[in-house]
Symmetry: none
Subunit: 177 residues, 2 copies
DNA sequence: CAGGGATGCGACAATGTGTCGCAAGATACG
DNA sequence: CGTATCTTGCGACACATTGTCGCATCCCTG
């Protein structure tokens, strides 16, 4: 079926996404860094790409162009944990078809991967449950917390929320990792 | 000089921007609503457009296409007080060349209006901060809301939050960058 | 050992949320 | 046209969640 290339240096996330896509009938492959990604793309031009912007040193933005050169018709979906309007605008201008902030449901990615490239604008996406705001917040907190090595104070600062509030939220839910 | 059309239903802001542009050598005109804007654009196709997304009832997004039809080569800069990645992505896909969150300095607008096919691309340091939970929630809400065609009740159901709460959140306008 | 964080937690006021209810518009349909 | 079904805005109010302060540990690191 659809050949999708997942580019993300987070091994776990990458693997999970590849598996999720495979389970839904896509021929999904994963690349952990820019170099591997380009090699794979040139070897066998993918029909779609899921690209993380935070690839170690360089920005995934730099990959959009070469990827499109290797596979002009592929649909690139940009994904990032450090979303911003500036990079979103840039990504789309460079040729990406969609841009998501990272805690995102696979369904949303599928919605833009599946349809034809043509009328991307007006497409009604069939019923898929978006994450509840609560769940979204939780996933985000967990991710940032991990990125800060479990440091609650630092995480609270990064998230611009009060330490006390973060503590309370963490206290309510079990989880530890 | 450059002929710019400012479309914003906030009379004060509109006037201020027009004056600011005029003072810098642009032939600036202002339109307070979609209809007037289209009429003016068709009468005399502008070289550039500054478009506010929040034009009373309908979204400024709907104006991008007709504007480009009236003046294919014009550079459209989208401006909005309720910025979100979802609308930014949409605006760029529709053909806008830039997207800013209000408040924004006139300088920034000038930067994309003045020069040639602005390639100010290469140099910007993407914010390395994760989104604040507040910001993330806002983005998510905006996305789901768009997916549901602006239907608040449906969005609230999808998000599993109370309609009243959603209304209240939308009624506020915090959100900053 | 001192200084600078990081943590956990109590207490309170300031906000925000869950619910109800109601009156207005929209729509859809026979 | 009339009616049933939705959607929307908004007031009220009890209850829940935050924003803040303050403190008493711990933990490092110079």
């Amino acid at each position: 079926m659809n050949d999708v290339l997942v580019i993300d240096d987070d091994e776990t996330f990458n693997a999970v996404l590849v598996r999720a896509l495979a389970r839904r009938g896509f021929a999904a492959r994963g690349a952990l860094d820019a170099e591997a990604a380009l090699t794979m793309a040139r070897e066998k031009p993918p029909e779609a790409v899921v690209l993380d912007l935070n690839l170690g040193s360089l920005s995934g933005l730099a990959l959009i162009k070469p990827l499109l050169e290797a596979s002009p018709s592929c649909r690139i979906v940009v994904l990032t944990g450090y979303a911003s309007i500036a990079t979103a605008v840039e990504a789309i201008k460079l040729g990406a078809v969609q841009y998501f902030a990272k805690p995102v449901e696979v369904e949303a990615i599928l919605a833009t991967l599946g349809p034809e490239p043509a009328n991307a604008t007006k497409s009604f996406s069939p019923p898929y449950d978006p994450l509840s705001v609560e769940r979204l917040e939780w996933e985000h907190i967990q991710r940032v917390l991990r990125e800060h090595g479990g440091n609650i104070s630092a995480t609270a600062r990064a998230l611009k929320m009060h330490r006390r509030t973060l503590q309370r939220k963490l206290a309510k839910k079990p989880v530890k990792l």
